[in-house]
């Protein structure tokens, strides 16, 4: 059970308001995608959810646990796992060690860590020959898979994706999208992704939201975005499809 509530979240940096009253409710086991233009504050919202950035005003609740009590309640942060935009694999560790590292923090012994890590790495489609390589020695797609393995290995209740296909070619991007879809379907957990790529949102999500000027201006089924009545949302939809069409 993991329901996420963003309640009037405000955040500013040097008097520049990035989040200006974000309110949103994400149901348990829902796959929700937040869309928005680059620099609109999507990543900031995700970092606020994780407690990496503090809120200026408002609150974020996950199963009634507040992000403000994160320090006192370790259960809060234990609910999450995230696939970072740049993968954030530890470059001083091998791929296997990256996955084992997360597991070791939740009191698995060495042999258990090894077994689970290999299992997860195989599950995301990585071959054994890359397990003992360092992140810099493998491709971007493989790094993304390894980061996903690390994220799912610790069995989170909420899985977060930050621009999951950025920096990948269209074919690898498609493969990763399918992998993410399969992963969230199999795990049956709440999932929140942020992206500016409408194609990813349409493929992954149950519902989407549009973040613009620091607030959520629309939430609904992704396929209904085209005729939602909001000018910005419809423009966003059409611009994405025009660019995608031009690309094809």
């Amino acid at each position: 059970m993991s329901k996420i509530i963003f309640d009037n979240v405000h955040k500013k940096f040097n008097n520049i308001r990035v989040l200006n009253g974000v309110s949103l409710e994400i149901a348990d086991r829902e796959v929700h995608v937040i869309l928005g233009r680059s620099g609109c504050g999507k990543s900031v919202l995700l970092k606020c959810l994780l407690g990496i950035m503090s809120l200026d005003r408002g609150d974020i609740l996950v199963d009634d646990l507040s992000v403000k009590r994160k320090r006192k309640c370790k259960d809060y942060i234990r609910k999450f796992s995230i696939l970072f935009q740049g993968n954030a694999l530890f470059d001083s560790m091998t791929i296997r060690e990256n996955v084992e590292f997360g597991l070791r923090q939740i009191n698995y012994n060495k042999s258990e860590c090894r077994i689970i890590a290999e299992e997860k790495l195989f599950a995301v489609g990585l071959e054994k020959r890359v397990f003992d390589l360092y992140p810099a020695e493998i491709s971007g797609g493989m790094q993304k898979r390894a980061a996903l393995a690390r994220a799912i290995a610790i069995e989170p209740e909420v899985l977060l994706f930050d621009e999951p296909t950025s920096g990948l070619d269209p074919i690898t991007s498609g493969i990763i999208c399918h992998l993410l879809k399969d992963t969230v379907t199999n795990l049956r957990i709440t999932c929140l992704a942020i992206t500016h790529d409408l194609k990813v949102a349409e493929f992954l999500s149950d519902r989407s939201s549009i973040l613009n000027d620091g607030t959520i201006i629309w939430t609904g089924k992704t396929e209904k975005m085209k005729h939602c009545g909001d000018e910005f949302v419809e423009n966003f939809y059409h611009a994405s499809h025009v660019i995608l069409g031009a690309g094809i």
Binding site: L50, F84, F90, F101, Q105
Partner: protein, 293 residues
């Protein structure tokens, strides 16, 4: 008639020039005041910034120190840092010490010849090396080598979100990244300084016995005779403090690195500059404490 017109023209031109002169003078004065005002504002802003930074570094260092004593301890990370900071710094510290000892012996010999006190070279070399040159040179060398390296490493971890990833994997970045470096710095710097002391004294002995006609036996005897335990201990205590400051400044600037390659570069530079200044300031402070000046 023409004269009157010329006279009027001359007077009006003179008046105009005078007005222009006065106006420009007034503007120049305003501008000067403005400049002075700007200068004072800039100085005040900079002073406030420095004070804020000192506060932030102090809080960061306190947080890092606290995490050195609170489990879990990442032993492999500590050992790794001891090797990186300590073992890999040995060659550069050794080389610095040997040349410092050699130059010191030469200079002291030249200086003492003026007072017919050449016999005191060994004493001065050993006291200078153990009290001052060993710790300060080793500290500055390790600061140059390690402070930038730590800042760059942590800075790139910050940029590539690896530090955020640690948080999401339920790892306290202070325990995993900062505490091992502080522990390694505090443990290894005294060892490095001890080695530097020995090598520096050996350097001085090599010069004294080969170029300055000292006998090996008398040089060693004089070195041991003039050395007190406090000379060594004060140097080692200074080294521990220097190690602490090197690790703290490296970690602080890395942790607070601005995004991008430029930000990481700047944090590495700032880390070296601030840790070197801190070493020199701490050296003065600790000298005053240990030797009651």
């Amino acid at each position: 008639m023409v004269d009157v017109v010329e006279q009027n023209a001359f007077i009006s031109t003179a008046v105009l020039l005078a007005i222009l002169l006065i106006v420009s003078h007034v503007f120049a004065k305003i501008s000067l005041f403005g400049r002075i005002n700007n200068l004072i504002t800039s100085l005040g802003t900079y002073a406030l910034f420095v004070l804020q930074e000192i506060g932030r570094v102090t809080i960061f260092a306190a947080k890092g120190t606290k995490n050195c004593f609170v489990p879990p301890f990442y032993l492999s990370s500590i050992v790794n840092q001891v090797i990186i900071i300590g073992f890999y710094s040995l060659p550069i510290v050794g080389l610095t010490a040997v040349f410092a000892g050699m130059v010191l012996a030469m200079q002291m010999h030249v200086g003492f010849m003026r007072f017919n006190a050449e016999g005191s070279v060994a004493s001065v070399v050993v006291i200078s090396m153990t009290r001052e040159l060993g710790p300060v040179f080793a500290g500055l060398m390790v600061a140059g080598r390690m402070s930038s390296s730590i800042a760059a490493e942590l800075g790139s971890m910050r940029v590539s979100e690896q530090i955020d990833a640690l948080v999401t994997l339920h790892v306290n970045p202070f325990k995993f990244l900062v505490a091992p470096r502080i522990i390694a710095g505090v443990l290894t710097l005294p060892l490095l300084v001890f080695v530097a002391d020995v090598i520096g004294v050996l350097g001085g002995m090599i010069v004294s016995t080969t170029l300055l006609n000292f006998s090996v036996g008398s040089y060693i005897a004089q070195t041991i005779g003039s050395l007190e335990l406090m000379d060594i201990l004060s140097g080692l205590a200074k080294a521990a403090a220097f190690g602490f400051s090197i690790a703290c400044f490296g970690c602080y600037h890395g942790f607070n690195s601005e995004l991008g390659a430029r930000g990481v570069g700047e944090s590495a530079t700032t880390a070296v500059v601030s840790s070197c200044i801190c070493i020199l300031a701490l050296n003065y402070l600790l000298t005053a404490v240990f030797f009651g000046i």
